[in-house]
């Protein structure tokens, strides 16, 4: 056994290039999986820590589904005997020029109520000076770390922008929590007295929530009932963290998608191992045959090969972990950006490297390596002593395998399609279907490649003469190695194509939707803490002044409030629609004119496609919406396409909204400009009407459209990066497979040299071969990619986010596929071709 290990080590060291490439492939796969895991987990953890830190030790929370709650509830609660503690909270988001790109959480508290709740408020060497905290108008306390980052100290002012209004808030203290968790949780918090927070957030008279301490006891259920009796309609009492958990749950689908993408990279890595191990077994067939003849048992050979794989797995996983952590640091920013855009404001101060995630990734890497090596090991162990020495046996076997593989492929695709057709909404099932289809297509590639070679022979003969024919025949003869390489290259390219088509379709759909939706000429809103998140309400006098502009001939107003209920979050929108804007909506079914007439006469609500999908509501059914006057059952008049949010929206006419909500606020304003007037000039003119200290975002529909697409591109950056990473792994795989393949043919090429083939001709032969493989792979990848994108667009996207997308396949994507495959294959041929042509025939033939 010692000897066997030695022999195996020697072999690996002799084929260093192959070894390095295998390690790189698996390491990259592990790195991608780990980095995505780390990034999404960090974003989730940051959100939860932040939520937990600001809720402190509260056991329950009173909040309202329909906006802020009445502050007078606090005094009523305080008279409730048995309630140990209650703490009012006013919360909202802000940004600061000194902390660019960070959404800051304003946390307004009453220090007199705090003792029991948020220890960081009253403990620690830098605890609050209650006197100045309460009596310094607009005073803020922030964590020492954040203060240092912003470059402010006690006594300075922190410039802050909240809902378009600029404030200069005196810094009256810093917090230096002693524990790491609190430090992390406070990184984005601006602690203010409740009075200052109400001023800055424009929430006079209102609270975001009330934290309660109701310890579990025999009477607690009764007490909670008594508290519930004090609540107004819309106000809810829930255990602390329920809301945060619902919010955190919003990113589940997004998370699953990223994880699936990252697994793809690992699967490509597995292919690499499969290929390398198979190849190294093929290379050693003589040696293995001799060993078997000398009495080494099958079990021993199996163990040796698996031990090799295990070592490669351990090393690559180790490298992968390091790479993954590094990569994660970059990805966490991209992931956070997407989450900020689509779901909720979160800032990730530090990537959390949880040991469990490292263990998981390492186990995945090792397991994948062993699994990928298993066929090769079994192959090596199962061969008869003498037969193992014959390569022709293997090749013959491979030839026989092609129809069987193709049949298995067809079955796999059929299975995948069946899964797709199941009326389930399970994402796991969808991805399983996708993997079955991809796997099936991969199994079909050898047959496809063979067919491709046959078809290309006449062309090759004409173009490249006998060399071309030799190249093509050579490939067909060494199918045991070329087929996996071709399959891998086509799958890699097809995934790239699939993702490309998906993103392109999404973007195209969004662009068309924006064209239809942005029917007004100028849009006005307040800047939010993140680019896409509007906050606060426009000052009424500003709206009046804008609407009165001589070039403005009509306007629509939009009021959005975020509602979080047991299912998730969505936006309730009150729309006062100008007749010019009635064609804004594109309905999935039904007559738009009829629907809009019913909408305008306040007969019900419009719901977005993701909303209808998530909550399984259809036109004509009712949807229950919480209001300050109690829940209202609204009839769904129509379901419209909406790509603004995957959480969904419910739109009612302003008239209907005003019946239930005591709220005259307007979140954004759409203006219609007189025909012939220059929208851009109107925007400039409007901005001069904005008073100092207020920031308003006014954009023409062109600018808004461009900005929206930019946001889209940024949102999909992480997908694009993953697409690229997956492709890199696949590319490394193909590179290593093809290179090994050509290098292994040293003797065959040596014979050709001896026959008189010039080095240049040899180079051409090698490059023709790899180029041919590239072309075939590329050609196969196009239909595969389109099939994949169809599954992703119509099944996975729909099930994850509820969006219907138009599939848009541009010629660019197809050309890209062919180009990518060809370039990858040619690149892979360059080194072997150069080496072969440099080697003298004598050396190459020395083995004889």
């Amino acid at each position: 056994m010692r000897l066997l290990t030695k022999s195996s080590l020697r072999h690996l060291l002799h084929h260093r290039m192959q070894l390095v490439l295998s390690v790189v492939g698996v390491a990259l796969g592990v790195a991608v999986v780990l980095s995505i895991d780390l990034a999404t987990r960090s974003a989730r953890t940051a959100f939860q820590i932040s939520a937990e830190t600001v809720s402190g030790r509260a056991t329950h929370q009173i909040s309202s589904e329909v906006g802020p709650i009445d502050e007078r509830l606090v005094a009523r609660l305080r008279n409730e005997p048995g309630l140990r503690a209650s703490a009012p909270v006013v919360e909202g988001f802000a940004s600061s020029a000194l902390l660019p790109g960070q959404a800051l959480r304003i946390l307004g508290i009453d220090p007199f109520s705090e003792g029991a709740f948020r220890p960081f408020v009253v403990a620690g060497p830098a605890a609050l000076d209650v006197g100045s905290f309460v009596t310094t108008a607009g005073g803020v306390v922030l964590s020492a770390v954040t203060a240092a980052r912003a470059g402010v100290a006690v006594g300075d002012s922190l410039p802050v922008l909240v809902a378009g209004r600029s404030w200069s808030l005196p810094v009256i203290g810093t917090l230096e929590p002693t524990d790491e968790l609190t430090r992390t949780g406070l990184a984005d918090v601006l602690l203010m007295d409740i009075s200052g927070a109400q001023d800055v957030l424009d929430l006079a008279g209102r609270l975001t929530r009330i934290d309660l301490l109701v310890p579990e006891s025999a009477d607690s259920a009764l007490l909670l009932e008594r508290i519930r009796a004090l609540l107004s309609p819309g106000e809810t009492l829930a255990t602390a963290g329920t809301r945060a958990a619902t919010m955190a749950g919003m990113i589940d689908a997004f998370d699953v998608n990223l994880t699936a993408l990252s697994l793809l990279a690992l699967i490509f890595g597995m292919f690499l191992i499969y290929n390398a191990m198979t190849f190294s077994v093929v290379q050693r067939r003589t040696l293995l045959g001799r060993l078997r003849a000398l009495g080494v048992t099958r079990g021993e050979i199996l163990r040796v090969i698996l031990a090799e794989a295990a070592w490669i797995g351990v090393v690559s996983s180790g490298v992968g972990l390091v790479l993954g952590v590094l990569l994660g640091r970059g990805l966490v920013r991209l992931v956070t950006r997407t989450i900020n855009h689509l779901y909720f404001a979160v800032s990730v101060e530090r990537m959390q490297v949880e040991p469990a995630l490292l263990v998981k990734a390492a186990a995945l890497g090792l397991g994948a390596t062993l699994l990928a090596a298993l066929p090769a090991a079994l192959e090596a162990a199962s061969s008869e002593p003498r037969l193992a020495m014959l390569r022709s046996v293997r090749e013959a076997k491979s030839r026989r395998m092609i129809p069987r593989a193709a049949a298995a492929g067809v079955v796999s695709i059929a299975l995948g399609s069946l899964l797709v057709l199941l009326p389930s909404r399970s994402l796991g099932l969808s991805f399983a279907a996708l993997f079955f289809i991809v796997g099936g297509l991969a199994l079909l590639t050898p047959a496809g490649a063979l067919l491709g070679m046959h078809l290309s022979r006449p062309v090759l003969g004409r173009v490249a003469g006998s060399l071309g024919l030799i190249a093509s025949r050579g490939l067909m003869r060494s199918l045991s190695r070329t087929a996996p390489a071709i399959a891998a290259l086509s799958v890699a390219v097809s995934v790239t194509v699939g993702l490309g088509v998906m993103i392109q379709s999404f973007r195209g759909t969004l662009a068309e939707w924006l064209d239809a939706t942005l029917s007004a000429d100028v849009y006005v809103s307040l800047p939010g803490p993140t680019a896409s998140r509007a906050s606060g309400t426009l000052p009424p006098e500003l709206i009046a002044s804008f609407v009165a502009h001589p070039d403005v001939v009509g306007h629509s107003t939009y009021r959005g409030i975020d509602i979080v209920d047991g299912v998730g979050a969505y936006r309730l929108v009150a729309l006062a629609l100008d007749p010019r804007g009635e064609e804004t909506f594109d309905f999935i079914e039904g007559n738009a004119t009829t629907i809009m007439r019913a909408f305008q006469s306040a007969e019900g609500a419009l719901v977005s496609e993701p909303f209808a999908f998530r909550r399984r509501v259809e036109v004509g059914e009712g949807v229950e919406v919480p209001t300050p006057m109690g829940p209202q059952d609204l009839t769904v008049l129509g379901v419209f396409y909406d790509y603004g949010s995957d959480q969904g929206a419910v739109i009612v006419s302003r008239e209907l909204y005003d019946r239930f909500f005591d709220d005259s606020g307007v979140t954004s304003l759409a203006l219609f400009v007189r025909a012939g007037a220059d929208s851009e000039a109107v925007v400039q003119d409007l901005l001069t009407r904005v008073p100092a200290g207020t920031t308003v975002v006014a954009r023409t529909n062109d600018v808004l459209r461009t900005a929206s697409l930019e946001v889209f591109d940024r949102t999909f950056e992480v997908t694009a990066v993953l697409r690229m990473l997956a492709f890199i792994v696949a590319f490394v795989g193909v590179l290593s497979a093809l290179m090994a393949l050509e290098l292994e043919r040293a003797r065959e090429l040596g014979v050709m040299r001896a026959w008189g083939l010039e080095p240049a001709e040899l180079r051409r032969l090698v490059l023709t071969q790899t180029g041919l493989m590239g072309l075939v792979s590329g050609a196969l990848a196009v239909p595969m990619g389109i099939a994949l994108s169809a599954v992703m667009i119509f099944v996975i996207n729909k099930r994850s986010f509820g969006w219907t997308l138009d599939m848009q396949v541009g010629p660019g994507v197809l050309a890209e596929a062919l180009g990518l495959a060809l370039v990858a294959a040619l690149l892979a041929g360059v080194y072997p071709a150069w080496r072969m042509s440099k080697t003298s025939p004598a050396v190459a033939l020395r083995g004889e």
Binding site: R78, P111, E114, L128, D129, G131, V134, S195, G205
Partner: protein
């Protein structure tokens, strides 16, 4: 009640230390919390007196207005203590105090109803003599959004559900209500004797220098009747209560470490208020004061050390940290023939709250006016013996 602040040379002293300590300490007694207490206490106690009103000259109290708040001064309290007996003969002591403290001279500029410069703290205790149980609770709130506040008309001081209020716009009869857990008190108080201005016509000088004084008056004998809920029983109770009203901005002198305050109601109709400000070396500070009130309500001031002599006759050790308090006194007023033994109704009446002090019901026996045998009841407050010493 006694008096004032003790902390350091200027300052709203004890009350501020009280408030600060209490605010911080509310979260628990860790070492870190006590560090914090001190730092906060210093911040508050050391605050500038600029911008506040000062007690500079004697004052003709104007009732009912002066029952209401004086927000221009930094500190103020409504301090009610008393001894009650149930119809079945069980004895009880009670304390309900609402403290007001200005955190800044002015209300911050804000549209919010929460904006205020006034903080409130309240203590509520019940001494259950026969059960030997002492119940003590505290609350805090800002003087805003109906959580806490004080008004002269209607006459009302409250912190959440704990209230001291007149039944009409007149302060008397005064109604006291407090409830915490299973302990509740609801009492009606008659004015009894007229208000007694303490010190020099209401100006109670606590240290050298103008302004180091408070305005201080007392209702020394208020008949009380109502309901007490304690130990699972709801009892009809009656007895005598005592109201101290005091407000100031700075009142202290150097080196005062605490005080012993006595409020005694004798069965012969005489009352005694006495406070001894203690210096760091244990001696009696020169600004200590005392007054006897005759059955008709006419006060006579007494000079410490000559007209009133007080000796401690025993000690009590706190189980919390072995802090030693005096417990039991011999009080002599030679000019009136008084010689009284003062004993706590139960030894442990220490308020282990964010700020620690001893305040409890006492029983009095001895000779009263003219040397005649007499009994009586009262309340004693002892500060500066335990917990953090007032700074330095």
């Amino acid at each position: 009640m006694g008096v004032t602040p003790a902390g350091k040379g200027n300052g709203g002293g004890w009350l501020l230390v009280f408030l600060a300590a209490a605010l911080l300490g509310a979260c628990g007694g860790t070492d870190r919390a006590s560090e914090t207490r001190l730092s906060l206490a210093e911040t508050l106690a050391g605050a500038d007196t600029a911008g506040y009103e000062r007690a500079l000259a004697p004052r003709d109290f104007d009732f009912p207005a002066d029952h209401g708040p004086h927000p221009g001064f930094r500190t103020e309290w409504w301090y009610v203590t008393g001894n009650l007996t149930s119809t079945s003969g069980r004895d009880f002591g009670f304390q309900l105090t609402i403290f007001r403290s200005a955190l800044a001279p002015r209300i911050p500029d804000s549209r919010s109803a929460w904006a205020t410069n006034q903080a409130y703290m309240a203590h509520f205790t019940v001494t259950d003599v026969s059960a030997e149980r002492f119940h003590a609770y505290e609350r805090f709130a800002r003087g805003a959004v109906e959580l806490a506040g004080a008004t002269a008309d209607p006459s009302r001081v409250w912190l959440e559900g704990w209230t001291i209020e007149g039944t009409t716009s007149e302060p008397f009869p005064l109604r006291l209500r407090a409830r915490e857990g299973d302990v509740a008190l609801d009492l009606a108080l008659e004015a009894g004797k007229p208000a007694v201005p303490q010190g020099d016509r209401g100006l109670s000088q606590k240290g050298p220098g103008p302004g180091n004084a408070s305005y201080y008056y007392s209702h020394t004998r208020m008949p009380a009747a109502g309901t007490l809920v304690v130990g699972g029983d709801t009892l009809a109770v009656s007895g005598l209560a005592w109201l101290d009203r005091e407000w100031s901005t700075s009142a202290l002198s150097e080196g005062q470490v605490g005080w012993d305050w006595f409020a005694i109601q004798l069965d012969d109709g005489w009352d005694l208020m006495a406070y001894r400000l203690r210096s760091a070396d244990g001696s009696t500070d020169a600004w200590s004061d005392a007054v006897v009130v005759d059955p008709l309500g006419v006060p006579t001031r007494l000079a410490w050390g000559t007209q009133i002599i007080m000796e401690s006759t025993g000690t009590w050790t706190s189980p919390i940290d072995d802090a030693v308090y005096p417990s039991g006194w011999r009080v002599t007023v030679p000019g009136h023939g008084w010689s009284l033994a003062v004993e706590p109704r139960i030894p442990d009446q220490e308020l282990d709250l964010a700020f620690r002090y001893w305040e409890g019901a006492v029983f009095v026996r001895g000779t009263g006016e003219g040397g005649a045998p007499v009994e009586g009841r009262g309340y004693v407050e002892l500060t500066g013996y335990a917990g953090e010493a007032p700074e330095r």
